[in-house]
Each structure stands twice: as structure tokens, then as C-alpha cells.
Amino acid sequence: MMDIFSYVVFFLIIAGIFSLSTLGLNMQWGFSGLLSVGIVGFFGVGAYTTAFITGPHYTDGFGGFGLPIPIGLVGAMLTSGLFALVVGFPTIRLRHDFLAIGTFGIATCIHLLAMNWRSVTRGFDGLHSLPKPFAGAGSPLVVNMLFLALVVLIVGAVYWAMQRMLRSPWGRVQRAIREDEQAAGALGKNAFSYRLQSFVLGSMLMGLSGALYAQFTGYISPQDMLPIFTFQVFVMLIVGGSGNNRGAIVGTVAIWALWTVSETILVNILPPIMARQASTIRVVMVGFILVVMLLYRPQGLIPEERVVSPEARLGGRKD
């Protein structure tokens, strides 16, 4: 019984961490219609940054500042934001599809750096022994439960903030820009600036996601930064409902559940020769789900709520 409970806690922690990335994508895509094909890159930047900041000293790597975890998390968000600026600035002012290509490029580069800049990142060995929050508070289960509480708190705060932003003047402008850029421009709103803000904020969330992941597992390596993650987040958001914060979280939990359960199922029902391929088959399966969702239910499980700002409902403020 405890085992199942333990497992559920673990599952929820990971789902919660990943849902931050999905919320980040929702900020970029749902709010501003921008597609980042490099989600895993920002996730990785966050993870490695916090590892550098909070991790122990390595003789063959960078870092070892041993600073408190909150600083690591903030540092992770700032660095991801910076990387987002580097790729977002030249691309968003031109065309959205350039952003797709640009983010794909930066994620590839980040992955390359993680694998090959051995003097800093320790290459495939990765950075280990990162401090775990609440370590020493009790048994592993207690530690995890505290961490889960932290994750829930963070996700809840982000969700609340994003819902507020959606209904705020800022959110209205974003939606106006997404729907009709020319009209929004006529109102004097600089579309580029708003989009860039969305993109950077969303990327910061992805960085936070990566940082929490690293702190939780205590370890980060290039193997945690494969393109499949970008893809999983796409599916999580599409399935849950794009443009929709609740959908982002629901979709993450649903897809993560499917992902973890499918490994067990595949390994058990496939003949041994194919069981080795279980993880690859999983990938094909998820790819298939994405395509099917895009074709038949692009609005996801939870359709986008038509947001009417409180002020408008009450008959308008000066705005």
C-alpha cells in the first residue's frame, strides 16, 4: 500500500514539474500564438544553471557555489529568460516560423554544449549530488511529500498568476494581437514587444521546470534533454487544451500517466524481442496521438474558455 502511495507521490511530483513547462508553452502559444520547438533546451538551461549554483564542487566541472536552492531556482529562471531573449529577439520581430526554427536551433546547441563542453558540464557524466530540498526532514517518503507540497504550491501560484494575467489589460492586448495584429497595431500596441514578453516569460517557466527537476532527482545529464521532451509537452498541451491553463495541467497529468503506464504495459505484452523496443514504440505511439489530436480534436479535452475580463462584465472601466 505504501509502495503505491509512494509511487503516486513520485508521479505527481514529476507531473507537477512538467506541468510548469506546459504552462510555459501555453503562455507562448496560447496567449501569443508563438511556437517554441526548443522547449527541452530551456528546460536544460534551467536544470544546469541550478546545478551550477547549488551543486557541490566538481574537480572537472563548473559550479560548486553551493548556494541555497531558491537562488538556484531564480538563477535558472533568469538564465532561461536570457537565452530566450537571444533567440526571440531576432526571430519574433520577423516571422513566427523563424521562432520555431530558432528555438529548434538553440535547443540543439544547448544539447551539444551539455554533451561536449566537458570542462563545464562534465559531458555525459552530468552533474550529480545536487542538494535536495527538505533533505534530512525525515524518511524519503516524507521528503518527497514535502517536495510535492512545494511543487503544488509553485504550480498553484503560477496558475493563479497566469489566470490573473489572462484577465488583465496585458492579457487582453495579447489576445488582441494574437487575433488581429493590424487592429492591435492601430491602437498603438507594439506587437513585437508583447510577444517577446510572452516568449521570455514562458521560457522562464520552462527553466524553472528544469531546475526543479534537477533538484528533485539530484542529478542532471544530457540524457535528460532529448527532443522527445519538447514533443511530450506539445502533446500534453494539445491533449489538455491549448490556450487553457487548466488544460495544460490536466493534459500533463494525463499524458505523463499514459507515458509511464505504457512502458509497463508494452514490456509485458510484447514478445521479448520487441520488448527492448518498448521505449521507441512509446515514442511512435505518442507521435500518433499528437497527430490524431491535431486532426480530430485540436481544441483538446478542455476547450479554451472564452475569457471576458471582469471589468467588461461589470460594464467597463476606463481602459
Binding site: 511556437l35 529548434f104 497527430v291 491535431l294
Partner: protein
């Protein structure tokens, strides 16, 4: 230095054959297809299937391949074309007709790409494999550069195909129709051009070149399931460096990217070759967004 240029041109060959497909799809279907790299992979492996069935890649005049591989390439062209058409019928076309946004198409292409290369892993395994298990003899060129027989074949075939492409675009009705559609599909329709037909040919030409590029890559470098995907970023970089609207720009971009990559391999490290593409993209977008041969918006 000569070696850098030779290696660069060989690398550029694969990128240029792939980027033509990317450019056509970008200009006619209005989205950057993230699946194009994996179409090269499919092409290479379809050839492999035929070579395995025939038991040999053959040998003509001392080359490491012969009629069997050429036959395999033809089969690969047909099969890759069929797969591309199937994917358009079921996925891209359906999304297009439903009025899906560019972003949806990009996501779908990313999903298709993921499925394709993982299917290759499932059926062929993740390890590298070859058409011919033999050391490639190398020739010496002036300037101290070395080039293998197969690499010479790669360059020759690429040059022929690029010239053929030029003739196709400037002399044939279909080629001119494609240029018309890529500029203004509505006006093309008014002129009597069947855009749906042009779209079908776009996929076919893209996959035709991808299949050949994939087979050539397999010949020169061997096959592994990710090789096409690893060419995707250089292809996009070539597209942007050359100017997205200009197909000749894309080919020029491919040459530049190829040489830049080979410089990186020589002076930095082979592992970072893809980074060059990314840096090129950012630089071009900051300094000259229309690319070398594109038009200012």
C-alpha cells in the same frame, strides 16, 4: 584549406538536395516542414532494403556500387514519394483543408518526423549500417586534399540534379507553375493552374531529392537513424541564409553552411558542427533578415 572546401562541398551536397524540398514546401505550402530531414533518412533506408534484398550494392567500373544500388535508389524514390503523398493525404492535406494554422502544421511535421525516425530505429536498430562494408578508396587532389570515390559521386550527382532543377523551374510548364504558386497562389489559380496538382508535385520533388540525398549519404557516410534529423538544422539555416523566397539562395546557403561546418570541424570540434547553423541563422536575422538572395519585405 582545400580539404576544408572539399569536405564542405560534400556536406553541402546533402544539405542542398534537402533544402530544395524545404524551400518548395515552405513557399508553396507555407510552413517549414520539420519532417524533411527524416524523409532523407527514409530514402536512405528504403535503398538499404533493396540492397539487402538483392544481396549486394553491385559494382560498376571499380566503383563501390553498381546497378543494384541505382535500382535501389529508384525504388527509394518511389517509396519515399508514396510515403510523402500518403502523409499529405492523411495529415498535412487534411490539416490544410481544415484551415489549420502554420503552427499546427509545424507541430504535425515535428510529430511525423519523430514517428518516422523512431520507426526506423524499431525496424533497423539504432546502430550505423552500410550498403557496402568496405573501405572507400581515396583519391588525392591538388592542394593536398583527399576525396573518396563515393564523395565524388555525391558531388557529381548533386551538380547534375541542381542543373536539372534549374532547367525544370525555368523551362517547363510545371516548373513555372510552381514558381507562380509559390509567389501568389490565388493569381495562379486565376491563370488556370491547378494548385492541388502543384502541391502533389511539390511533395514528390521534395521526396525525390530527399531519397537521392539519403541514398548518397548512405553511400558516402553510412546510415544511422538520426542522420536526416541532424541535417535538418543545417537545411533550415541554408534556407534562411539564402533568403527564404529564393530557391537558388537556399542552394547557395547550403554551400556556405557546408563550408562553415567544415571549418568548424577543422578548427573547433566535429561535435559542434550543428552550432554553426544556429549561429548563422541568428547572425543573418540580425544583420540581413532577407538573406543573401531574398527580397526585403
Amino acid at each position: 584549406m582545400m580539404q576544408v572546401i572539399v569536405d564542405g562541398l560534400v556536406a553541402a551536397s546533402f544539405v542542398s538536395l534537402g533544402v530544395v524540398g524545404v524551400s518548395l514546401i515552405y513557399n508553396i505550402l507555407n510552413f517549414p516542414s520539420f519532417a524533411q530531414g527524416d524523409y532523407l533518412t527514409i530514402g536512405g533506408y528504403m535503398s538499404l532494403i533493396v540492397v539487402l534484398l538483392l544481396g549486394t550494392a553491385g559494382s560498376i567500373m571499380g566503383l563501390q556500387f553498381g546497378w543494384p544500388l541505382i535500382l535501389a535508389a529508384f525504388c527509394a524514390i518511389l517509396l519515399t514519394g508514396l510515403i510523402a503523398e500518403l502523409l499529405d493525404r492523411t495529415i498535412f492535406g487534411t490539416l490544410r483543408r481544415g484551415g489549420s494554422s502554420r503552427i499546427t502544421l509545424i507541430m504535425a511535421s515535428f510529430g511525423v518526423a519523430l514517428m518516422l525516425r523512431n520507426l526506423i530505429v524499431i525496424f533497423f536498430g539504432p546502430d550505423p549500417t552500410y550498403y557496402v562494408f568496405a573501405i572507400q578508396p581515396a583519391l588525392h587532389l591538388w592542394g593536398g586534399a583527399r576525396i573518396t570515390q563515393n564523395e565524388i559521386v555525391v558531388l557529381a550527382v548533386t551538380v547534375v540534379l541542381v542543373m536539372g532543377l534549374h532547367l525544370f523551374l525555368t523551362r517547363t510548364k510545371l516548373g513555372k507553375s510552381m514558381r507562380a504558386v509559390s509567389e501568389n497562389p490565388s493569381l495562379a489559380r486565376v491563370n488556370g493552374i491547378d494548385v492541388d496538382n502543384v502541391i502533389r508535385w511539390t511533395w514528390f520533388i521534395g521526396s525525390f531529392l530527399a531519397a537521392i540525398a539519403g541514398t548518397l549519404f548512405g553511400l558516402a557516410n553510412g546510415l544511422q537513424p538520426y542522420f536526416g534529423f541532424e541535417l535538418l538544422l543545417p537545411m533550415f539555416a541554408a534556407l534562411i541564409v539564402g533568403g527564404v523566397t529564393n530557391i537558388y539562395g537556399a542552394i547557395l546557403g547550403a554551400v556556405l553552411i557546408g563550408i562553415a561546418e567544415s571549418l568548424t570541424v577543422k578548427f573547433l570540434a566535429a561535435e559542434y558542427r550543428q552550432a554553426v547553423s544556429f549561429i548563422a541563422v541568428i547572425l543573418v536575422l540580425m544583420v540581413r533578415p532577407q538573406g543573401l538572395l531574398g527580397e526585403k519585405e
